[in-house]
Amino acid sequence: MTPTAAAPLLSCQKVTKQFGALAAVSNLSFEVMPGEILGIGGPNGAGKTTLFEVLSGLNPATSGRVLLEGRDITRLAPEAICHAGIARTFQLNAGFDGLSIRDNVRVAAYFGRDNRRLPGLRLGRETEAITDAALAAVGLTGRDAEMAATLPVLDRKLLMLAGAIATRPRLLLMDEPVGGLNAAEIDRMMATVRRIADSGVTIILIEHVMRFLVRLSDRVLILHHGEAIYLGPPAGLTRDRTVVDVYLGEGASQRLAALIEGGGA
């Protein structure tokens, strides 16, 4: 449950991202409260990842404003947005392939929060401690020397998540954290995300696996052609005619309704 009196952590105001004549994100407005988990769903090409590109600064908005705790971050460079407190994971399993697990996380721990006007000659104890904590949070402790390039898909996703946590974000954007994982791996990731949320990090996650989305999210935003067609509690998804028609379909909708009632979402 989100307190309505508090100021929003993130506020998107009429955000539009135009690629030529195509509006991948169109006039989108929503707010995310501190401590909330917002799930984003929608068909392929709905503009979910584009929204993350806009929020993380890799591909800034054509128009509209993005505010983080009231501060306008719409036009900030990606590294400045990271320093401001937004960390992101990627749909493709991004990583620094030539670096070890530990070095992957060290980069984020050292450069993620502090602009480092004049980088030092040593990483220092604080960076190492943050790195240890981030590796522990995703369960990669003790595997420091393994090279990122050799990791299987779940470990790559966890490593990417450890990097995101190591920047000590206030807002974490997760782009399909369980895409390509099996059921047991999804459960493990779900527990990990829950722990991160409990540590006080606000989360926006994009996911097609509805079990994951509805179990974790406080609210769900469904996008279609770059516009919001639903924003509300997960339980309302299956009762919304438009969502069922353009995204879920009848069969999946019935299975999801059973899951929500039976699973205690």
Binding site: C82, G95, F96
Partner: protein, 318 residues
């Protein structure tokens, strides 16, 4: 960080061994060839920071070397500056030039960086050799501003001839050794420190690095600037070592020779480029009597390494 300590110890041990060498092999030829190895060693360890560690395929390093060499020669020739001061200023100018080149390459990737940096180097070269207007008219004849095809000579030296007489080259040897040791220590600290981490992160995945707080513009300028200081200083030392600076420092053969050292030794590693420099200089020495076959021989060695050991000599350890 035990890695730093180990590498620094290796560096100091090698330095001590090299410091004893002139007492054992005193011939002038061997000493000056090893001094030349020190110079190329500095260039390849610094070039490796851009090429191997940061993964930016810049071919501007010999042009930067030339800036250091020409800067030193011109400050000595036109203004009569003492050489140590001229060398230091020339190295700082090299840093500025390098940062400009880094800025120009910011939005380019892979082979496009190679093309642009090679073009910049060639433009500088053509501007030097095609300048035939006389800037001054000394008794020896017309002198273009940048020395033209003839280049500069008699611009000063480090003063070892006055102190050591005919053994002056041994003084130069120790200056070269000191320069290499400093350059290697510098590269160890960079590669094993936070900056090295930033360079490697941007090399492996620029978009991901940016979203983890590593700004591309900033660290591209850092790597171009930092790798240029000792490169410029090596060029400056080259000028005082040979007493002549001419357009030959821009030659493509020299550029490829040094590039081959890095590839053969192992890009992105701390010791690889130095190993490669030693190996290729020895091989070149061995083929001295072979005329045109010398370049072909070097080409074959390079091809052999690229095919059988793509990670270079240093890659053998993995």
């Amino acid at each position: 960080m035990t890695g730093v300590r180990r590498d620094v110890l290796i560096c100091l041990a090698l330095a001590a061994a090299m410091a004893l060498l002139p007492a054992m092999v005193g011939t002038r030829y061997v000493i000056t060839q090893i001094t030349l190895f020190f110079i190329w060693g500095v260039v390849v360890t610094q070039w490796n920071l851009v090429l191997g560690v940061a993964g930016i395929f810049s071919l501007a390093q010999m042009a930067l070397f030339a800036v250091g060499a020409y800067g030193t020669a011109m400050l000595g020739y036109y203004f009569g500056w003492p050489m140590p001061l001229a060398m230091l200023v020339a190295a700082l100018v090299t840093v500025a030039v390098s940062m400009l080149i880094g800025l120009a390459c910011l939005r380019l990737r892979g082979p496009y960086v190679a093309l642009l940096t090679l073009a910049i180097a060639q433009v500088i070269y053509l501007m030097v050799v095609n300048d035939t207007g006389c800037f001054t008219n000394p008794p020896s004849g017309c002198m273009p501003l940048f020395g033209g095809v003839r280049g500069f000579s008699r611009f000063g030296d480090l003063g070892f001839r006055a102190i050591l007489g005919s053994k002056w080259f041994i003084g130069q040897y120790y200056v070269g050794l000191a320069l290499l040791v400093l350059a290697v220590l510098f590269s160890i600290l960079l590669i094993r420190g936070p900056l090295g981490l930033a360079f490697k992160a941007l090399r492996d995945n620029p978009g991901y690095a940016m979203s983890r707080g590593v700004g591309q513009l900033k660290y591209q300028l850092w790597v171009f600037g930092l790798s240029a200081f000792f490169t410029g200083l090596a060029g400056a030392f080259y000028a005082v070592q040979f007493g002549v600076v001419g357009p030959i420092v821009f030659s493509l053969t020299m550029l490829l020779f040094l590039l081959a050292m890095i590839v053969v030794g192992g890009m992105g590693t701390i010791w690889g480029p130095l190993l490669g420099a030693a190996l290729l200089m020895l091989a070149d020495e061995g083929m001295r009597e072979m005329g045109d076959w010398r370049d072909i021989g070097l080409g074959l060695i390079l091809a052999l390494f690229v095919i059988t050991l793509p990670r270079g000599l240093a890659g053998l350890r993995r």
